[in-house]
Amino acid sequence: MLNVAGEPPGDSWGIFAFLCAALCNLPAVPALNGTEELGAGQSIQKTYDLTRYLEHQLRTLAGTYLNYLGPPFNEPDFNPPRLARAEQVPSATVDLDLWRGLTDNARLAANYRAYSRLLCYLRGLDGQAGTAELRHRLGHFCSSLQGLVVSIAGVMSSLGYPLPAGPAGPPPPPGAPAAPNDFLKKMDDFWLLKELQTWLWRSAKDFNRLKKKVPPAVVTLRLEARGF
């Protein structure tokens, strides 16, 4: 990579390109042995794209599902109380300063855990819900969300972070009932979709930021590893 003597012209261009990248925050693509850097960058880009895709799908899916739940759930200003039971769904409402203050690793891990649990709850949505078309859309969305969980894991491993242990934090506790009556189940479903939407919106911003951060950070790591 960064050999001292007898280096072919390509490598000296590489040094120059790295310096430019470090200064100008541009990825030094051609000259460096960039397979891992490219891998992380691409991974993040794909995860970002997938997040945006899911956001878009969710708008249609949520609209249809809330129509199935019926008014007032599908009214634009509907904002029911969040009962204690509903706290089990990972809340997307956090202090933004606190959130931005986390390390990349912690943020990615939080995303990974949240989506794993959201996926579990989503799969528990009414299996008999509405039309075959709604069920089909739900199934497709679940598969795509599963893809997002895997994608985040891919980003974490390409950046060298360890995966959070287990599929997701504690599984839905066996003691507490899923929802004691149909109306409360509807409220749970509403909150699930709402939190999912906020999570996806924020994750897109996270991945966008991460995308811009990655190349110099990774190059620095590699240089340090080689003792330069």
């Binding site: 609209g63 634009p76 029911p80 409402t93 008999q128 504690p170 003691g175 509807k186």
Partner: protein, 425 residues
Amino acid sequence: MNTAPQTGLVLPELAGRAPEPSTSRAAEGCAIFIYIYIYFFFFPPATSFFFYFLAADPAVISPQDPTLLIGSSLTATCTVSADFHLRAEDLYWTLNGRRLPAASYAALGPTTLSVALARLNGSKQQSGDNLVCHSRDGGILAGSCLYVGLPPEKPVNISCWSKNMKDLTCKWAPGTEGETFLHTNYTLKYKLRWYGRDNTCQEYHTAGPYSCHIPKDLALFTPYEIWVEASNRLGVAVSDVVMLDILDVVTTDPPADVHVSRVGDLEDQLSVRWSSPPALKDFLFQAKYQIQYRVEDSSEWKVVDDVGNQTSCRLAGLRPGTVYFVQVRCNPFGIYGSKKAGIWSDWSNPTAASTPRSERAAGGCDPKGGEQNTTLRRELKQFFGWVKKHAYGCSNLSIKLYDQWRVWLQKSHKTRNQVLPGDKL
């Protein structure tokens, strides 16, 4: 990101702005979350009930999630829990988002308000009508889902078909429209007539909302009993049993390789050729075919019914110089000696062809004919010249005679053409 979601969900920007007024709420939420986590992680399930009582519901509605017949009446009560310090006068009801008139309310106690609903209509959505008890400021205290509908009636009009004897698809119609208010589950069942074991069809909605597909393990030459069971929250209904043998309801793919071509220069005919559906080539059956055709800009199909079991047919009486669309379909009746008519296949994809334009009857200005005759005429002229020189007799033979013959020919052009088809046939 600034576009509002078209749902009842809060705009992301609002969620982002939330920290300001609800930072303490968020902190509370976090605290509760951690609390739950610790409880469920470290303590056995029995303790979770303790936690459940800590966060009791604000109110209780009775009846909770009832199932009712259309037209029935209901009196529901909302009892607020003591912790909330609300009285019956502070409450109101909504049904599917619309406020119910206060005239239908009655206070049954200091913390209990009832509402009377009469002559209920079928549920607005299959997930149940949302009857909600609110506090004065609009907050939701409790809710109940009302399932109002009719018990199912016997499903009717069961019809089945088998594609190439490999499978069976059946469809039916629901007994009444009332079944759409509640979620009605349909199960198609079948059994061999004298064998006794009920089987259930698994693949639904393959040919419309009320259909099911049985992909394998079907016996031929023996009758099946088939019926549909409809069930919802209000009851169960079973259709009449339909008895059939797979071989009597066979259908197949449309005929393959449909080709339509002109018949020589004939202006009013087209020849249609196709091949027998390949899936049934190994089976003994008599196919019947039907052809339908129409003119390009018309939507009226003409059907040719008496095609029999040939794989070609000639359409006659067509308009010259017109584009026609032609389709063919097949009925595999008499398969394995079955006496019943099979089921017509789908029509093949339309094939187009055009009939030749008619030649102009007024002779003379026929360039094609003229070209042909120029060479012929020249040769004939040479021939007659030679005959005059070398043959004795036939001296009247000359090119003039030939010209007269040509004129006679064009005068009788139409007659000549009408004769020719008869010759060819």
